[in-house]
Every structure is written in structure tokens, then in C-alpha cells.
Amino acid sequence: MYTYERPKVEYKGLSLTIVRLATKWGAIGIPLLLRFAWGVFFAAVVAVVAFVWIVGRFINPLLPWFIRDVVVVVGLLAFVCIVAIIGIWGERKVSGRIQSRLGPMRTGHWHGWAQSLADGLKFVQKEDLIPRDADQPLFRLAPYVALVPAFCAYLALPFGVGWVFRSADVSLLFVLAMLAIEVLGVIMAGWASNSKWSLYGAMREGCQLVSYEIPMGLSLLAAVVATGSVNLIELGEVQSGGWFSWLIFQNPFLFLAFFTYYIASLASCKRSPFDLPEGESELVAGFHTEYSGFRFVMFFFAEYVAMFAVSALATIIFLGGWHSPIGGPSSPLWFVLKSTFLVWVQMWVRWTLPRIRIDQVMHACVKYLLPFTLLLFLGSSLWQLYDNPAHPAFKTFAHLLHYGLGCVGLLLLGLYFTGMGYGYYNRNRLVGQMARKHLPGA
């Protein structure tokens, strides 16, 4: 009879001392920390300010560019982590509200805002399970190959005119390239788990991601043709001037290109309705079934980081980036606001639609999305060709269509807010009389 003997974990040397110290002093230290939490917080703020002053005064004159780079990268890391944490919390609240329940409400006292932090703490202290027959180095490497490129995409992503780590001439392609490396991490994870179910998830995911990169790139190229540059800052700067100068309204092909890009990016982030690789009902968790603890958290983070990255791309290229729609000052806050809106729409779509089967996913890409985006690219190129003063009739037609599309966009936005307001105003009536009469406190 084959019995499984659990490997005995023995801590030796440095790990043993760390574990002993942590258990001994943690039992005293953590309650102490919580008791003086506010004091610790202020002390930390003071310490950070002091550190920054010391670095600025003494170390900056020696290596100015290095300090700047390190600071920006640390800031981006922090932003990415915050995006992931808020994304996870937001997903749970959004899914709860859509499903007529509340979502996390307890951790942190206000609508469970600290739920992600609590989950992170929980995951960190979980046992590190690796299947015995798994490919050990690749198994350990896979989460990093999935997460690091997703973070690297932010290195070329401008939040505003001066708010970018490195402004490269090919920043759009760089972001796309970084998002393309993620495929390898997922395939590696599926293979190294040595489980047929994980392998299935990895294969499906590889097919899907690689296929949907093409419509994604083509839709973005339609916009590149309109501006003539692959530099994200230039793509953003072209759209300064309010609502009607956004690239999405410039010509009908670009309007449709935004939606095809959005759908393709849903597939590229493995979000429902394209979330077959993580098909929860079929493959338990697809390619990351065998991952537990912090490695699973890295995959989860990678998903939310990539979600924000593709939404940020859509914002910069189609929705005006960091410019405000009403002609005020442009700022990174507008950028973050618009990207967050797109991420929220991604979550909305996820909790509404069922899952598409893999062969239907490939069908949709190759038979419908790809020819359609080719047509959009062609149309956008021809539009640029004819939309110049040499063809005055066409130019007036294009002008009219431009503002017409802008009005269509305003209409859609108005519909969205109207629906929101109607639902909020009638939220008691819509839920039904029975719920109102029998709720506690009715």
C-alpha cells in the first residue's frame, strides 16, 4: 500500500533562529504594536520623512539619477501593490452588490476595506505546498515570470506628461511586449504542476492569450495610424482639449477599435467571459490549481496588475489619458480615475456574463475579431489619407462625424449615469415588497 509520508520540515541555522525569535517576540510585539498603532504610524511617517531628507541632503549629490530611479521604481511598486489590493477588495464588493449581497463588511470596520490586507497576512503564513512530482525550479519560477513582466509594463506607462519612468519612443510596443511575456509564466505554471488539469488550463490559456494579442495590437495600431507615433506621451498629448479631442471620437473606426481593444484585453487578462483558463467550475482553478499560499497571491496580483495596465493603455490611447474632459488642468488623477472606471467595467462584465467555451473563444478571435480589426485598421488608415485639406468635402463630413461621435459618447455616458441614478433612487422599490417588509429593521 502506498502511504504518503509528509516531509518533515526542520528549520536549521538561520531559519531556526528567525522562527524562534519571531514566535517569542512576536507574541509580545504584535499586540504591543496594535495597542500603540497610531503612535507607530506617526513614528513611521516621521522616520520616512527623516530618511528622505538624509538621502536628499547627503546621497543625492553623489548619484542623482540613481536616487531618482530607485524612488520612482519603489513608488511604482507601491502603486502596483495598492492597485492590486484595492482591486481585490473592489472586486469582492462589486460582485457582492451585483449579487444582491454586501461583500466584506467587517475587517477594518468600514465596508471591510482591510479585507485584502487580512487575506495577504493569511496567505503569507500558509504552508508552502509543492507537489512532489512537480518540476521544482519551474514551479517556483512561474509566479515571478507572471508577475514581473506585468509590473515592468508600468515602467513605460505615463501617468501624465512628466509622470513616467522612462519615456521611450516605442513605449506602446514595450507595454504590449511586457504583457506578452506573461503567457510564458502561465504555461510554465501549468506544466510544472504535473497535473493534467493544470496542463489543460495552461494550454487553453496559451492559445487564448497569443491569439488575442493580435486584435489587441491591431486596434491600438489603428489609433497609432491616426497620430503617427508609438510614443505613449505623444498619443496622450494629441488628445488635450476636452471631450471632443479624444481619439475614440476621431473617426468611427477608432470608436469601434476601442470596443474591440477592450474585448481583446478582457481575453488577454483572462477575465470572464474569457476566464476558461481559471475556469472555476471546471478545472477547479486551472493552471494555478496546485499553487497555494504566497505563490497563488502572486498570480492573483499579476491578474489585477495586468487589468489595470491594459485599462491604462486604453485610457491613454482612446480616452484622453491624463486630460480632463471639461478642459481643466490635466493631472494623473484623471488618468487613474478613467483607468479605474475601465477596471470597474471589467468587473461588471465578469459578474454578468457566463463563460465562453475555448473553441468558441478561438472562433470569435480568428473568424470575427481579427478580420474586423483588420478592417478597422484599414479604415482608419484610409481615413487619415482623405481627412486633410486636399479633400474639403470629406473633411467636412469627417468633422461632422467627429462631433457626432462625441455626442454619441456623451449620450452613452448620460445613459450610464441615468441608469445609476434611477437604480439608486428606486433602490427600495426595485428590490421588491417582500424584501422590504421582512428585512430586519423594516
Binding site: D169, A177, L184, I187, W191, M203
Partner: protein, 176 residues
């Protein structure tokens, strides 16, 4: 100074990865070492100022070709850690051919007088675009025809050999 450090970093990774491809006996590991090498070569392209080429290297080579390679390796290997080991005679031939090629490469690198050219990091995308559609239009079109032929060949090779039945039709009762 910094350039030299970065160059050594990327080149070392490329060389080590290349050697690891040769030394490794596990096909899947070989595929991933290849990916590491391709990414470090892309880094070298970035260092030389060929930003567009580096990005396309990652997008096409790593994101497309290497993924395809990994797919093929993973789907056709019969067991978890497939091993490749050359036989005795093969090893001898391989050594001879490799030594000849290596000596040729080293001699050519050493004998030629290299002149460092200026790194022109202009708007590479626009320049490449203009030359592709201007000076090198002929080769560009020929390459696209070649790609079309390759796609047609692949589609023909991958066609189903037996007629595919309607996947969900069932006619009548069948005894099991």
C-alpha cells in the same frame, strides 16, 4: 561605465543561457533557457539603441515563436522530463563540427578591424517605417508572401485527416 556593466550583465545571461541550452538534457528546460537568452539579446538591442528591434524581438520571438516552441515541446513529450543524450559517434561528429565553426567565428571576430559607429537613437520607428515602405519595399512584400505561404502550409499540414463529425449530434439510440 554603466553601459559596460549593463552590457556584461545581459551578455553574461545570454552566454550562460546559451550554454545551458547545450548542456541541459531536459527539452522543456532547454525551451525556457532559450527564452531567457532571447530576452537578454533583446536587452542588448535596447542597449544599442535599437529600441524597436528589441521590442519586436520580445513581442514576436518570445511572445510568439518561443511560446509555439514550448507548446510543441510540452504537447509531444511522452513523459515529464524527457531526456536527450547524443550517442558516442554523434558526440564525436558534433565536437568536430562545433570546433571548426567556433574557430571560424573567433578568427573572423579577431581578424576584422571593428570601428565603433555612433549610436543613433533617433525616432527609430519612423525611420524603419520609411525605409520599409521606401527603400526595402521589395523585400518587405516578398517576406509577407513568404509568411502567407508558411501559413497556408501550416493550415494544410494541420488539417484534420478524418472528416470531423458534428460534435454534438446523436442519431438514434445506441446500445452501450
Amino acid at each position: 561605465m554603466l553601459e559596460i556593466v549593463i552590457f556584461i550583465l545581459f551578455a553574461a545571461v545570454a552566454v550562460i543561457a546559451g550554454l545551458a541550452i547545450l548542456v541541459s538534457t531536459n527539452i522543456v528546460r532547454m525551451a525556457y533557457w532559450l527564452i531567457a537568452m532571447l530576452i537578454s539579446v533583446a536587452g542588448l538591442y535596447f542597449l544599442m539603441g535599437a529600441y524597436f528591434l528589441g521590442v519586436i524581438q520580445i513581442l514576436v520571438y518570445v511572445g510568439g515563436v518561443a511560446v509555439l516552441l514550448v507548446f510543441g515541446v510540452m504537447l509531444t513529450s511522452r513523459q515529464m522530463a524527457p531526456k536527450l543524450r547524443p550517442g558516442r559517434v554523434e558526440a564525436l561528429w558534433l565536437t568536430v563540427v562545433a570546433a571548426v565553426l567556433l574557430s571560424g567565428l573567433i578568427l573572423s571576430v579577431v581578424r576584422v578591424r571593428w570601428e565603433p559607429g555612433a549610436v543613433v537613437a533617433g525616432n527609430s520607428v519612423a525611420e524603419i517605417g520609411r525605409s520599409l515602405l521606401g527603400e526595402f519595399l521589395g523585400p518587405f512584400e516578398l517576406v509577407s508572401v513568404l509568411l502567407l505561404v508558411a501559413m497556408l502550409g501550416a493550415a494544410y499540414l494541420a488539417r484534420p485527416k478524418t472528416p470531423v463529425q458534428g460534435a454534438q449530434q446523436r442519431k438514434g439510440t445506441t446500445a452501450l
